[in-house]
Amino acid sequence: MNKNYFEVIRPGINTTFQDQGRKSLYHIGIPFSGVMDNRNFLIANKLVGNEFNFPVIEFAYQGPQLKYFGDKINISITGDVKFVLKKSKDVIDGTCYKSFTLENGDELDIISTNKSVYGYLAIGGELDVKYQWSSCSTNTKANIGANDGKKLAINQKINILKINENLSHKNLNYVNTKIENIRVIKGTNFDYFSENGKDIFFKKEFIVSKLSDRMGMRLEGPEIENIVDTNIKSEGLIKGVIQVPADGNPIIMLSDHGTIGGYPKIGVVISADYDKLVQLTPGSKVKFKEVDLSSAENLFRLYDLETQNLISQI
């Protein structure tokens, strides 16, 4: 019997348990999965005193509504998120990047993300979730990971095995910024595209399509013309690869992507831009900007340093 738990009153649209994902399984067809926005994940955990790779609850657009039963516990929410806390008679507007304490009977209503897609709820303690291949990350397409590989459902419970003892409050001064230029390295099939197609890719605006999820982000814009072949022999994919199928519209591979694909690769999003890329809402306008490998590596070092700095401020 678990005496400390959350009850799911409303699960939200796409609410799953995630951590940093599972390694070394691409060769059998299991993607990395894991949180979409790594920085916000790390910050959420640090705010409630968790170890860096503890599972969190990731939500998209609309978050869950949860009622808490048990001893005092700290939680935090990161991202650009609107939420309220219902404590007996009071309804308190929530603030992101700040830990606060829930008591027996309190309700947390994560209403929506604002100008972004993903938000994170960290719970200060150890959650009772299933690990598969060293990760609890939920892959709803293959039903792998916590919660039998499924999204959170109405009336289910989130059981807590152990609550962190330290209930002091922490906060961080941080504002998410929106990306407009996605920096990319040319892909291995860049020369499959016509001069005009290459020009379009780097100069024109693209719009994020509604048909985007944890597997991939589809973009719409002027057609990128292929002059060699719209198929390649199926080969491995990684996060951030931009494939262009026969219709000429780019698709960016995200955390739950299929491990093998047969469309030409025009580019790959640099690692430093991944967290911000995934937060682009449908309808957002973006441009691709070319960088070389050594710049991409430097930009990642900067991104990582900035992340470490933020975490050390908590």
Partner: protein, 224 residues
């Protein structure tokens, strides 16, 4: 043996073994894959072997393209003879209930179903790669007269265990999934078992597969 190593983005190596898709090229890919896997090189996250490519993805916090390229170029390859390839028999039932596209195959290949089954059963298939969905094996090569294109409109749901054909390859749907391959039958055995911590997939790159025909009774009463 690798024709060229380039970078795929900032966190992966793209090892190109040449244009050809055949067993020889793929055997080289698998030899590199197993050699790198065995060496446990710091920072490597994932290895994805395919017909003629090997993608090595890594954690940019730990290592980088230049360092790993050097490591892979100077890699001691494991002896081909020590690579253990299994020989696995897969029972397949081609009852009408499971052989969803047999009529289409007869039309496209212009040969009767008896001949199609004869060309499919009791011969060696080589596992080129596994993936796309968890544990799905890509097995080759089908005879030249057995090569059909994908369905014009892919199925929204291909039943678990379905065995499909497309061009020179056969595959097995390890769980229900969308897909466009020509379904010839269904296997009662679990090709992918997610409850296994080690080796959840029955078939690995380099293994030899032989399909064995079973009837519907044998299918329904199949015990592993």
């Amino acid at each position: 043996m690798i024709k060229n190593i380039s970078n795929l983005g900032d966190a992966a190596l793209y090892c190109d073994f040449g244009k050809d898709v055949n067993k020889d090229t793929n055997t080289k890919v698998i030899r590199y894959f197993k050699s790198i896997q065995k060496k446990n090189i710091l920072g490597i996250n994932n290895l994805t072997p395919s017909y003629n490519k090997l993608i090595v993805s890594f954690d940019l916090k730990i290592t980088n393209f230049k360092t790993l390229k050097k490591e892979i170029e100077n890699l001691d390859l494991i002896n081909s003879e020590t690579i253990s390839n299994k020989r696995i028999e897969i029972p397949v039932c081609c009852d009408e209930q499971f052989s969803l596209d047999i009529k289409r195959l007869e039309e496209k290949l212009k040969i009767g179903r008896e001949k199609i089954y004869e060309n499919f059963f009791n011969r060696d298939f080589f596992c080129y790669m596994t993936g796309f969905i968890a544990g799905m094996p890509f097995l080759g090569d089908l005879d030249k007269n057995m090569r059909a294109k994908r369905l014009e409109t892919p199925r929204v749901k291909v039943p678990k265990g379905s065995v499909g054909l497309t061009e020179q390859f056969a595959n097995i749907y390890t769980f229900e999934s969308p897909g466009g391959w020509n379904i010839i039958g269904n296997t009662p055995i679990d090709i992918f078992d997610s409850s296994k911590e080690f080796n959840p997939n029955l078939i690995n790159p380099g293994d030899l597969i032989i399909f064995k025909s079973i009837n519907k009774d044998q299918f329904l009463n199949y015990n592993e």
